[in-house]
Symmetry: C2
Subunit: 189 residues, 2 copies
Amino acid sequence: MKSALLVIDMQNGFLSPRSPLFIAGAPATVPACARVIERCRDSGVLVVFVTRAYAADGSDVEKPRRAAFLAGGRPLSPGCDEEISAAMPKEFGASEKDMHIVKPRYSAFFNTGLDTRLKELGVGHVILAGTTTPNCIRTSCYDAISLDYDVTVLSDCTSSVNEEIQRSNLADMERAGARIMASAELVLD
Amino acid sequence: MKSALLVIDMQNGFLSPRSPLFIAGAPATVPACARVIERCRDSGVLVVFVTRAYAADGSDVEKPRRAAFLAGGRPLSPGCDEEISAAMPKEFGASEKDMHIVKPRYSAFFNTGLDTRLKELGVGHVILAGTTTPNCIRTSCYDAISLDYDVTVLSDCTSSVNEEIQRSNLADMERAGARIMASAELVLD
């Protein structure tokens, strides 16, 4: 079965302690994400960068986040400080050879063309990396199961604001039918 | 702001210990659900029953659940035992005056017409009751936030296979912006 790696929301606006959307566990996962991205490219597995971008006026920010966005330097929007911008770590070496999807909400599949693109390419298995585990990883996981994909979540390439939240969410996704594993255990065809 | 109560998956197939899809915490929530349904009707708040129904051959069951469905009496499908059927508790008094939505997957909004129906009626706030908290309640919660609804989750009208899962999921949804409260605290206009 053909696989794709989805790298979700690994952007300065979630990785910088100066951002109101900072995820404490995320910076430590950058090296593991970079390694699995490289391994996927070497094995011919499609790498999809799924990212968030907000309008400078905040009109498209999720309602519960809008106040923090406006008060906190308008992360992930045009004109904000580079340190909290939509840019991704240079270690990922993102290029036009990868697929790029900008999503308006939590799930990589919510109001995006991702499902259509993956099905066109014959992808039946998605591998999830990125942040944050309880929000964008988990909603993408449930949508992927709902759309009949097999799902693997990489425990060392996903992150939460603390370890308890990380553990409980990985356990819930495993009960729902996702495979949970460390990236070193991932076997690529 | 106009509200609607979504009562999700409160059906014999999730409420009976004889079903492979049984949720241990769910039967105890039936009385609280029945009370809040009655209060909503008395206050003119729309009650929406969102339910699951599977084909007898299991062809539309989520892939991770398919083996348990086939081995466990094919719950929630035509011709299965009444005890594990798609029927709801009589205490709810469901009738044609309520809205009824059959959903194919976890979220009440996934590939259903619910969002369109609620927006046509001017509903801006959804109140979530039913089961199971980590799956169908939580995916509905995140989709509702993504679709710009205000969201309230009723802690005593939702349920999980154990209390730890119930607590961690309510806490995650609160962090994402949902209001969590006991049904007795719910103020209806």
